[in-house]
């Protein structure tokens, strides 16, 4: 013998109201959906849905196909068949399943629901359901084929069934439906898709802005048409604006996310699709392969628009990039065409003014960039003096874009500027000159050894710069390594030692400038102590000039060298 579980309808309704539907307002949409489905089943061109409101009850009548008694009995069997969200979603493909679940949402606002329905050639039926789970079915008065649903308002939510509210909701959800919908005798359907004509006005009315441009969307595979409106002002990419989505011309929601790829945050869309599936709550799109394909297709259309703009109206494109460069750059990380667009049209900050990557390449060959703004500021002037072009890659995506360009285009060479690479641009001294100052360099190196710094001498511009402190990325991290190693317990000490063996440390460099007159005088100092103090001071000055951090050891050294120099400068007491 098989039994079925008793389903507590009250419990299910609570479950739905708290977990499935965002708001009880959706009952209007569900009723309209049922009516439209019933009309669709008749294939009639003259579908009508009439809603009347009143203090006692809300009535909605359609001239659709109607239900037979057997189908009415199935109603409750369907309600609460599954609590799994995705299965609920699938169940909607069946007419009755939709009807049952849709009707269930009416219990969010009604304690009693009457369904008076009749199919052509079959006797009419009256089904009455109560929110405590009771229901009965009896013969109904004769009627034209179709269905009338009557809701008796639940105490406390009467406002949700008032004429004003219902009209507003019916218009919101159903204004585009391909049937005639009237609320208290006034028509709320407009019959045509408003983004086909007068699109800018539509955008202003619905989204509240005048679009920079409108892009028509068309994805036949998903029966999707619509429009994308490009925002005229910058938006935070993190604020993922929603899109207005209609499914079979019924509004799904006004703020659907995930219809566009993330990079397309510069556009708001309105679309209607016959094929995309809603989640069970009918408040979001079901994330499936089709949605992914739609997203890709829309992405293609947005991309196509950008490419056309570049070809036909570069100035307008420049304006667009000025506002939405972040989105385009994000796109360029995956998309070759966009990458080209950024390369050709987006001016990046460099140490020789703002230029596009394309121009930069033409001038300098290699695309050399600093990975952070700090690094850029430390090196830009010196690099410029060596005629080395340097891009500030410290802005979001810029460094990644440059690197990607080099992987896509074999003609492009990109290099992250390693500060120490700059020294290869500096001239060395001739052998004789360098050998002569060897003793000085030995003294200097001894003084700076304790700071983990290597001293070298080169000739470079600008000549006014006495010394430059350069730290490679590895050398910078070596400091972090040392600090951590000093602190580490046994376990981690062993790990860090094992890793250190694999990669020998690099040291930062103090590069003394042989073209600088002061440095040349320092090189000639006969007194080793004074020479040492001078090098220490040059070191400190280079640190500060490059905005490098001053560690406690650096600070101590600065103090002693300063006092030492002062001591030399001031005549002794007599």
């Amino acid at each position: 013998m098989s039994n079925t579980f008793q389903v507590d309808l009250r419990g299910i309704v609570d479950l739905l109201s708290h977990h499935l539907y965002a708001s009880p307002r959706v009952y209007v949409r569900e009723l309209l959906q049922n009516a439209v489905d019933a009309i669709t089943a008749t294939a009639s061109q003259d579908g009508r849905v009439e809603i009347t409101t009143g203090a006692d009850a809300l009535r909605i009548t359609d001239n659709g196909i109607g239900l037979t008694e057997a189908q009415v009995h199935e109603l409750l069997a369907t309600i609460g068949r599954s609590s799994k969200r995705d299965e609920l979603g699938f169940a909607r493909h069946e007419f009755l399943g939709q009807f049952g679940i849709g009707l269930l949402s009416c219990f969010l606002v009604a304690d009693e629901i009457r369904v008076h329905t009749g199919r052509a050639g079959a006797p009419a039926v009256l089904w009455t359901g109560y929110s405590d789970g009771r229901y009965d079915v009896r013969p109904g008065e004769d009627r034209e084929p179709g269905t009338t649903v009557t809701l008796l308002p639940r105490r406390g939510v009467e406002h949700l069934l008032s004429g004003t509210t219902v009209r507003e909701l019916a218009e919101l959800y159903g204004s585009l439906l391909p049937v005639t919908v009237e609320v208290d005798g006034a028509r709320v359907t407009t019959g045509e898709l408003p983004w086909k004509a007068g699109r800018e006005a539509y955008c202003q009315r619905v989204f509240g802005f005048t679009p920079f441009d409108v892009i028509e969307l068309n994805v036949p595979g998903a029966g999707l048409t619509g429009a994308a409106f490009v925002l005229p002002t910058a938006v935070n990419p993190a604020a993922r604006g929603g899109h207005r989505v209609y499914l079979k011309r019924m509004l799904l929601a006004e703020n659907i996310e995930g219809l566009l790829p993330e990079w397309a945050f510069f556009a708001r869309c309105v679309v209607d699709s016959t094929e995309l599936r809603p989640t069970a709550s009918r408040e979001a799109l079901y994330e499936d392969g089709l949605l992914t394909d739609v997203r890709d297709a829309i992405a293609d259309q947005l991309r196509g628009w950008l490419v056309r703009l570049a070809a036909t109206d570069p100035r307008r494109l420049a304006r667009f990039l000025g506002v939405h460069h972040l989105g385009v750059k994000a796109l360029a990380l995956h998309d070759d065409e966009m990458l080209r667009l950024v390369e050709q049209w987006w001016p990046m900050e460099t140490n020789m003014g703002r230029v596009t990557l394309a121009e930069f390449r033409e001038r300098h060959g290699v695309i050399r960039y600093a990975a952070t703004t700090d690094e850029f500021h430390q090196l830009s002037a010196v690099a410029a003096a060596q005629d080395v072009g340097l891009i500030n890659g410290g802005y979001v995506y810029d460094a990644d874009i440059i690197e990607r360009l080099a992987t896509v285009d074999r003609a492009v060479r990109a290099e992250r500027l390693e500060p120490t690479d700059l020294t290869t641009r500096f001239s060395g001294l001739d052998a004789e000159a360098e050998l002569r100052i060897r003793p000085f360099l030995a003294i200097a190196q001894r003084r700076l050894d304790k700071l983990g710094c290597e001293v070298v001498i080169r000739a470079f511009d600008p000549a006014t710069l006495p010394a430059l402190y350069l730290v490679s990325r590895a050398a910078a991290f070596h400091d972090e390594f040392t600090t951590s190693r000093d602190k580490a317990d046994d376990l981690w000490g062993g790990v860090l030692d094992a890793l250190a063996q694999a990669a020998p440390p690099e040291r930062p460099q103090l590069v003394l400038n042989h073209r600088n007159p002061l440095v040349r005088r320092v090189l000639g100092l006969a007194d080793p102590e004074l020479a040492g103090l001078a090098v220490e001071s040059l070191y400190g000055q280079a640190l500060m000039l490059g905005h490098h951090p001053i560690r406690p050891a650096d600070a101590a050294l600065l103090t002693t060298s300063f006092i030492g120099l002062l001591d030399r400068a001031v005549p002794e007491e007599r």
């Binding site: 890659g393 990644d400 972090e480 860090l496 490098h548």
Partner: protein
């Protein structure tokens, strides 16, 4: 020199960036200055954030350095701000255990010592052993100790989940990996499909669970679904070098399902990552999977096609196949030397020699319905294979927690930021991803 306030602001900026090189560059800029700012909280928090940024940005080796700093600081200079970050610190033990074994130069004893340390700290904090068991399982897997792995797997499954457990996407992902490795494909699908329907908010998901499904579907003959899962997963993984290992799996998928051309396209896209692989393990697996694809291409008569690499001449497919196979084999040997067995070498040899699944899976969305290519049975279960190692679940709230307040990690003045505030049940994908 920047003030502590300025550095806090920069840090805030950094953690809002997508994981990757740019985020690491900014964090390192802060790291260099942080000890001079005289703010112990800032010094700790920066390194804590650095650890996560390194792990998810593909520079795992550096994460050991910043993590060890944090642990030492936590143990030696107890301070109120540590309490606030305790949860994150404990969470990061997972990254460390996962990470250490991926470097053959780290003696195995260190990994096990770390596991013990992790267990001790989790016990002290009153946490479930669920995560610890899981990581002992992962370690046993790496060593090829199948029985031991089974035992830890069972204990992991039996222990209760708690706030330090991997998220509701990552835990099933790892279970699915285990089931796949044991040929229990129907169970994978039963487990994973509902997970996909749920709400996943972890950096690692749903791409991980989709990858598991890809394999399971291949074996149950649901080829269209396999193609779909592969596509979705790859799309989410392809832009971050931290996923190098997993990208290799996608390349292998293409190589074994009649999509050698697509596999080559992917290989070309990612080959330069190999030079800066996040770990030797990732390098080894990517090289082995790629070598398999390249060998297939050679066998199909396309050994003369070339692959472009930065700093190299164009390399013919046939030559690169050998080069990458050698590279993977050499790393496997280093692992085996450390581990005292030949498990990794066997594994890599199998990967390199892997044959097609015997089905053809059209990857283009417009292609016709796929079907078995021959009358051969659509698949034969692989020999017990270890589940691949994921980067690590990252479910503790990184950016979600930073979006509201200006300086989220500073001592709470008006709001009450507490350890419990970082429960890992809902985290958001950091940044607009990449």
């Amino acid at each position: 020199m920047r003030t502590a306030d300025e550095l806090w602001d920069l840090l805030q900026q950094a953690v809002r960036m997508p994981y990757g090189a740019a985020r690491i560059a900014l964090i390192e800029q802060i790291l260099r200055q942080v000890d001079e700012a005289g703010d112990a909280d800032l010094a700790f928090t920066t390194r804590l954030m650095a650890t996560t940024s390194y792990v998810h940005g593909g520079e795992k080796v550096k994460s050991f350095v910043t993590f060890s700093w944090c642990v030492s600081d936590f143990d030696r200079n107890p301070a109120p701000h540590h309490q606030r970050h305790m949860h994150t610190l404990l969470w990061q033990f997972k990254y460390m255990v996962n990470g250490l074994r991926q470097f053959p130069e780290i003696p195995l004893a260190r990994t096990f010592a770390l596991l013990d340390d992790m267990e001790r700290r989790y016990r002290e904090g009153g946490h479930s052993m669920q995560v610890v068991h899981k990581h002992r399982y992962i370690a046993a897997n790496h060593l090829g100790h199948a029985d031991e792995a089974d035992e830890w797997y069972a204990r992991w499954q039996a222990a209760p989940r708690d706030s330090l457990s991997d998220c509701i996407g990552c835990d099933p992902d790892d279970v699915a990996a285990y089931l796949n490795s044991r040929g229990r494909y129907a169970e994978v699908i039963e487990l994973a499909e509902p997970v996909l329907a749920g709400e996943l908010t972890c950096t690692e998901q749903p791409q991980g669970i989709l990858r598991q499904l890809t394999e399971a579907y291949l074996h149950t003959g649901e080829l269209e679904k396999a193609a779909d899962a592969h596509r979705r997963s790859y799309r989410l993984e392809r832009d971050n070098i931290a996923n190098l290992w997993d990208v290799g799996l996608h390349i292998a998928f293409c190589g074994r399902t009649g999509n050698e051309h697509r596999g080559l396209e992917m290989l070309q896209r990612h080959i330069d990552w190999l030079a800066k692989a996040p770990s030797p393990a990732a390098e080894m697996h990517f090289a082995a999977d790629s070598a398999m694809l390249l060998r297939r291409l050679t066998e199909l008569g396309h050994g003369d096609l070339t692959v472009r690499r930065q700093g190299h001449e164009e390399t013919p497919v046939a030559a690169l196949a050998t080069e990458l196979a050698d590279r993977a084999t050499a790393i496997a040997a280093r692992f085996d030397t450390r581990n005292g067995n030949d498990y990794q070498s066997r594994l890599i040899a199998e990967t390199i020699a892997a044959e097609p699944y015997g089905v053809e899976v059209p990857l283009s969305p417009t292609a016709g319905r796929p079907g078995p290519r021959s009358s051969r049975s659509p698949s034969r279960p692989p020999r017990s294979r270890p589940p691949p190692g994921r980067a690590s679940c990252s479910t503790w709230p990184t950016s979600s927690s930073t979006s509201s307040g200006r300086k989220p990690w500073r001592p709470p003045s008006t709001c009450s930021w507490s350890a419990s505030g970082s429960r890992p049940t809902r985290c958001s994908r950091p940044g607009s991803r990449r």
